[in-house]
């Protein structure tokens, strides 16, 4: 199991993630001789109240332009965004970047359904929800203002 620590700041427990097309969508593009968009780095807040991971509209834009489309709708509880929401999902690849910089220590989820939301003004571009946390151990140490994440 890989473990990493980070500070808790005014926005909460923030981590670095990379988003890219799902493995299936990238394969479809390659088989068609089309370019696959490069991964996009984002700051993400760990949100234990969010059922589903959310990504900012602008961050998703290059992937939508490359042909990523919504594949299903979901009823999700997102208290930070107003409560129960019926929204459409994209299947994306999401990589939780380990602070060591060692790519082999990253958590890679190659076909994760994510919701599109406008998050830009909040200071981070993604909410990491319980769909990602179910692969992790998460300890929030409010006294020392640090968190631990293991996966």
């Amino acid at each position: 199991m890989n473990t990493m620590n980070g500070p808790i700041d005014a926005d909460g427990a923030l981590v670095d993630v990379l988003i890219e097309l799902s493995a299936a969508a990238a394969l479809t593009l390659r088989n068609s001789g089309l370019a696959v968009p490069a991964p996009v780095p984002l700051r993400a807040v760990i949100d234990t109240a969010a059922e589903v991971t959310c990504i900012d509209t602008q961050a998703l834009a290059p992937f939508v332009a490359a042909g990523a489309t919504r594949r299903r709708f979901v009823l999700a509880n997102l208290p930070a965004l107003g409560g129960l929401m019926l929204n459409s999902e994209y299947a994306m690849s999401v990589t939780l970047v380990h602070t060591s910089g060692n790519p082999r220590a990253n958590l890679v989820l190659r076909n994760l359904p994510v919701l599109e939301q406008t998050l830009g003004p909040l200071g981070y571009q993604a909410l990491l929800g319980r769909d990602v946390l179910e692969y992790c151990l998460f300890i929030y140490d409010g006294r020392s203002k640090t968190f631990l994440l293991a996966f």
Partner: protein, 93 residues
């Protein structure tokens, strides 16, 4: 579902597929298909799959990249949602 539900404008892209899903959902549930995944394009239910990945793969094989289709889990809870009028299937006259 007593709490209010917000309907995202992004659902509009899938409106035709959602109408088809809601039209077919009672029959699929009656056939015991709950938990499986319906592949839907426009007003047609194309096939039923065991996993989301299988349904998506079937859709990718059928349609070019960027084509709208739905790979939706068959769930009874969506029958109880207060869907806006434009998503509800028209009743036969």
């Amino acid at each position: 579902m007593n709490r209010p539900i917000h309907f995202s404008p992004t659902l509009e892209v899938l409106r035709a597929e959602i109408v088809t899903y809601l039209r077919e959902l009672p029959r699929l549930l009656a056939e015991g298909q709950e938990g499986r995944f319906a592949l839907i394009k426009g007003d047609q239910l194309l096939s039923i799959w065991d996993t989301f990945d299988d349904a998506c793969q079937a859709g990718h094989e059928l349609f070019p990249m960027g084509t709208v289709f739905l790979a939706q889990p068959i769930e009874a809870r969506y029958l109880n949602c207060p869907w806006p009028e434009q998503y509800l299937p028209r009743k036969a006259t």
